[in-house]
Symmetry: D2
Subunit: 257 residues, 4 copies
């Protein structure tokens, strides 16, 4: 039985439209349009329990999940969605203990995801050139308690990657081809590279940069997620949804000679 303690970040789930990531502090409180939550009322409660607000709405107190990040963290940059993050975690082969490199940091969502999956014994090196983004990313990753696994670097990845023998490299930037040779040098043989780009124009250049640099098993893919709404006797996809986030290009390093 795990109880909510001072300093914990808790997911407060009110209904399917309202999910908050809240750091709980003694004497503090949190306001929602369904009523206020005094933190002293929830300190010591078990994760998974709920309280009833003044409006009658129930506020469920959950242990934060990765998908909760999308509702509770700041998102100044366009980010990969859960559908994309899950897929690249799977196809990249990232696992507990891995050393991975990422650029740019952006809002830190992929950083948080990677640090979640490499675990305490792994490490994420993340490159960013804009100090403002890095600051927000540090706040975001810290809020969910994963910052110890991350090294935030204020450096242009196009000028080189300092790490060697890394398990996987992830690039989410406008001109990935300029970082691909550095990624090749940083990677272990057989290690994976994963690139996320928003436009069709970047596909061809990225693909051939990978092929010519020394990658095989190159795939260009995109994922479309459809959400369904369920009412009794009336199940159907939601009418409006996100139809595009970006294209995912991935490959594996081989030893050229």
């Amino acid at each position: 039985m795990v109880k909510i303690s001072e300093g914990d970040t808790v997911t407060i789930w009110i209904d399917s439209k309202r999910i908050y990531l809240v750091k709980v502090r003694k004497n503090g409180q949190f306001s929602t349009d369904k009523g206020n939550i005094k933190f002293d009322e929830i300190l010591g409660k078990e994760y998974g329990s709920f309280i009833t607000l003044s409006t009658g709405a129930k506020a469920y107190l959950l242990f934060p999940s990765l998908t909760d990040m999308y509702y509770g963290l700041r998102r100044p940059t366009q980010v990969m969605y859960p559908k994309d993050l899950g897929y690249v975690i799977f196809t990249s082969g990232v696992k507990p203990g891995d050393i991975v490199v990422e650029a740019g940091t952006g809002s830190g969502f992929l950083t948080a995801t990677l640090s979640h999956f490499v675990g305490e014994s792994g490490k994420v090196y993340t490159y960013e050139i804009k100090e403002g983004f890095q600051k927000i990313a540090i706040e975001n990753v810290s809020k969910i308690g994963l910052n110890d696994r991350v090294v935030f670097k204020l450096k242009d990845v196009r000028e080189g990657i300092d790490e060697k023998e890394v398990d996987a490299v992830f690039l989410d930037m406008a001109d990935p081809w300029n970082a691909i040779p550095h990624a090749y040098s940083a990677l272990k043989p057989s290690g994976s590279i994963t690139i996320f780009i928003p436009t069709v124009n970047q596909i061809e250049k990225t693909y051939f940069a990978l092929k010519n640099t020394g990658f095989i098993d190159i795939h260009v893919e995109e994922l479309i997620l459809r959400e369904y709404q369920v009412k009794e006797g009336a199940v159907r996809p939601k009418n409006i949804g996100v139809v595009h986030t970006g294209y995912i290009i991935r490959g594996r390093k081989y030893i050229k000679t």
Copy 2:
């Protein structure tokens, strides 16, 4: 520098259509339509290197990835695809050290995926009623060396789940509603349940079983993957592809009183 050793399972990648998961044994060999590979030639080689076959084709020797499972392992049952596996790993919040329960085992692909992500400190309990499937799953998971993290159970999950306080439950079976109350009992409060079903008919019944048993944050979703083919000056989605595998339903347990 990691070298290929006796007993290793190696991915042999010949071109994008041919990926094999091969257990390397002294004096053994492996035949492909591009030529034979004598294992003594590749023992001691570095992962990521390649050899040239009699036909001139190059055979790249890679460290096996999760996606390689789709080409090299036996698949007697319909399985979740990488797009589905990645998404459920992400949304379920599974992480290193987690204790998870799964039913049915089937070909063991979700079993392998879960054991990859929970790491050495985690554990996967997987239920199956058909001995034949369990046998193949054990072979599959063993081939990629993850069997130490898995407890294979020959038991009907609809009669109960023995484990308690588990982090996540995964159900891939025809009548998930019969296992949902057991999943509720087995889960930690705030823990996640993930269900995979192939037909629209199962959506409504599963959804309301979750809602009535004590789950919130319930989502019904499906993923469509589009693969692109890249030629110089001619980038486009592949014409034919997989357009359906199944629907993913997920939720989180709350404490009802």
Copy 3:
């Protein structure tokens, strides 16, 4: 050279977001957020020309197309989208001179589409039970000048179809299975039936009603439209879009004995 005349319905296209279907009357005017348009200024102008508004925006004067209906006509009911309308026109085999039956009329968008394609020598019989919808549909179809080809009936199609030997029947209603036997009686042998339904729950019942009543070549399909945005060097699908309107079920009547 076709000029705009008193009483014409003209499409006024201001930019990709603003399309109006406007009936032009002497001394009248039309207000937009980009400036006012006095009808006397556009009477006598050629279709395809433009005028410049007080804000500097250009207002293009076009001959109304079927897709303009979506912007300029009233839509009190959920309607089929151009992607759906185009597909059912094609697969139903509707052609100039055809006699078709439709129920329910709704906002009259399918009515307008059918009357466009059957031409002056064809006829559309459309059934509706709600007088309010019928009134709006008559206004809509009249505005684009196709009402002479349509017979609007205030009658429940579930109680029978008066017409015989019709080329095609279209059903867009909650319980199509109650109209299918009447559709069978009304159709020519080899004629087509097309049914539009929004939820997955209706698929199976509709399918087997068709099969058991005397239809073959039955298909259940849905269409997803993706729109692209084009900027120089940055082509990509729009991020948000319509991901679901409904399912299309179609078949052809055969003579049972």
Copy 4:
């Protein structure tokens, strides 16, 4: 009651996988893997009836529809699919009596579709540079009896379009931008242009050629069709399907000065 006559082209539908377009001749016959059909047995039968073959399979005798073209006509070139054909017919505004221009003719599927919808009072001018394709297209369109409405031209559309004041132009060719100025000259003001291209590389160049030549209301779209399979208690999308045919770009001509 319409009966099958000597010289008719009949759709023979055996099951959902076997659809033939067959020209019926006295004393002739047609062989299928389900048994032979002697034409004398079906001459005089009503459209919509069926006969029972030696294997017990039923062969339904239907009036040919546009979708039957996909099974019974020769397709040496990649063609637009029903989903694409229906959409462009709708968005182009083509109607009975229209004069339309098309290039290239290819296998004649769009030609057949256009001639179906413009009716007896309309006309389709279709340009092709390869004599072999034109020959097949003439055969195809003749087989379904629509050749009287079509003028087949062996001419390179990039060197000019002879027709003037046409209602709509359709281009399905590798370098549509070279035909766009000719299309502009041929079209009525307010008339529509529709272009079909298979790769993402062609999108941007085509879009800006339209914009710069004098078209507005330009849209770039693609359609994804999902087919469902229905069994009792088991409705779901088919697993494998066509996920890409091409992109559709459309616009309307305006008078530039």
